[in-house]
Subunit: 216 residues, 4 copies
DNA sequence: TATGAATGAGCCTTCATTCAT
DNA sequence: AATGAATGAAGGCTCATTCAT
């Protein structure tokens, strides 16, 4: 992601903590996740980052560039974690379960990722569309799914008429919706959705949903 | 949805089109759906509605009240359509398929509903939590699901360990995510997701996912 | 004060309470006294009066005309009460004391009069200057003071070098300031100024101040 | 008046005139004095101060904070002048006369102070009540009056039954009312009240009123 | 005589951004 | 590499007033 031009202040941690640009991005991520793009305040980001507002423009450019950088960072972080997931040594069933659980937990642990995606889609996905960094990074999970599907079908434990990409979207959607809409769902059903018990129940349901569907 | 207090101008459609309050709500729905709450402009809403900005405050109150009214309206509209769906005369399998297809299509045809929910959840669901109108309206679909599950299980065509609410969330999520994130997904996969063919493929996938899972 | 042209709705009390114009003026008096001219709201006046806002413009004209009418009414009311005060049959000393006490109590009982005058002076007194009704109504008190001074000096109980108008302004000022600035004085001195005891003490002080000064 | 927090732009007078905050307060004082709180316009204050309107909110906060700051400044300025008045070396009679003349002239020369107080009282004195700066600053004049009264009574030149606070209020009121209501009084009496001659006459009257009253 | 509906200008406040050092 | 000061444009909301009936 070498995005830093030489005209930009070096990354040498000068006084304390991470370098300025990283602090800015972290602050922006937090602010954007809480308020959305339109609701986020540049002043708030600068304050969160503990820097002068002016530096924000030096390091990143403007609010929109900030959004793009944060979005790319969020995607990159997710892809990085996905890449760390290795199911190649697991049986198709065990591998698929691991993958589903991983995906669900990622959503639970990264609500800011969900918020960002929602807001980006609200904007018509125009930033993602313009981003070189995001566009050509294929989700590693998709490859894993393909591998697991192939092995499972060969072993006769998975049904045959399964589209990998559709399955990927389904796995993601089963967790995403639960997390994204947890506040409204919680209000309407008058149930807490973010207790450990509730999260475990949902995770198990998603697993049995996917595996149940995949039965031959 | 009789929301009109007597302190508000009458609804007598005098000259053209729907009465003022309805026009305002329609305009607000469009603006909010496109821009989100923070991004929406009251001026833009007034202009869309073809009324003086001042009237907006007479008829509804303020931006937040406008949001709440729009949100309640969106929920009410969905519930109304849901109520029109009748699967009681269908077999469990056919009924469940109909229900899934209905839900998927609703998401496709009402992207504004998705946007509203996303933004409401961004705000922590505080408006829904405060709304009398929304809070106690249970989704009719949930009742239908319960009925279908019961009949299907009795007939031996559905598995037994199924939680109706989890299933409802899953059915919704399978369509919601696809629609909500269509722009980013489309960018990343470099595929159009809103062509008739793609939509049909997705709908079929969701159906077979749900029914596949429900097999005993 | 017959200011009503024939083009204006008759004063016939139609349904209940005083006729509309009187209700409007009473409401305006209350609102202006509480908020001042700039702070007063025409809507609030209409609501207080229990009439449609439009009528306010029919009966009086506009906010400024309303102010003038209220101001004239306040002056007229004061003058009417002043006229009722008769000290001609009292001794100079008793008469002067009665006059001073009357004036003090009027201020206490009519805080709205004070507020109106303050605001009118804030505006440079331009309404009073334009008002036929106010301008030529001389304060009856001034005449009484002249009479009392003359009799008292003749009787040798009052000093001789007294200007009636200056004395009038002093008598008024001694009560006015206490009432007008009661909130700030009360804060600064940390004492309640509007208790019956405090008011009595002040009234007595003013009396002894005036009579003490008038001693030969 | 060291009211500047470190979060506020420095006072280094860079180009011309007093620093920004002082200019803002001066402009606000002028505007508030002319229009009252409700009638004052933030835009007008900014323009008078020769600054961008936005800075006003950076330096002071908002309209209400501006009012409070101006009010505190006005009190502080008056107290400062009062403190400079020294009557300890004067005889009771001379000292009392000096004090009365000083107070009268202060009102004449600071009509904005009167306007501020009137408007603050219109608001129920809520800002003064909240202000730490104003609340505990006792008027130095009151102490002087106490001293003069004591010495004068000991010397037998002042009457004995005098309440210092009542006398203070009276002295203030005798000048305040004349100044505060000069426009309406001038209209009603058809006399100019702000000519040097008229002011001198009034001042003399107030002096003889107070000293006349204080005779044993 | 009375009313509900409408309006344009203006108010206080805040925004993202840039200047000057 | 960094900062305090500044700015024009706009944002939500409210005002006094008038229209149409």
């Amino acid at each position: 992601m070498a995005r830093l031009s030489s005209a930009v202040p070096s990354l040498a941690a000068d006084e304390a903590g991470p370098p300025a640009r990283a602090r800015i991005l972290a602050a922006a991520l937090a602010e954007f996740a809480e308020q959305g793009f339109a609701g986020a305040r540049v002043d708030a980001i600068a304050e969160r980052a503990g820097i002068n507002k002016r530096m924000l423009y030096v390091y990143v450019g403007n609010k929109e560039a900030l959004w793009l950088a944060v979005l790319e960072g969020a995607y990159a972080a997710m892809r990085a974690e996905e890449r760390a997931l290795n199911t190649l040594h697991l049986s198709p069933l065990q591998g698929m379960e691991a993958l589903v659980r991983f995906n669900f937990r990622y959503h639970v642990q990264h609500p800011e990722f969900i918020t960002l995606l929602n807001d980006e889609n609200l904007q018509g996905g125009r930033n993602v569309a313009r981003s070189d960094a995001v566009q050509d990074i294929y989700s590693p999970l998709l490859a894993l799914i393909g591998d697991l599907l192939g092995r499972g079908q060969a072993a006769g434990v998975f049904r045959r008429d399964v589209d990998a990409r559709q399955l990927y979207i389904s796995i993601a959607g089963l967790g995403y919706f639960y997390c994204s809409n947890r506040h409204t769902l919680s209000s309407i059903f008058a149930v807490a959705l973010d207790t450990p018990a509730a999260l475990r129940a949902r995770e198990d349901h998603v697993v049995s949903m996917v595996l149940g569907y995949l039965r031959p």
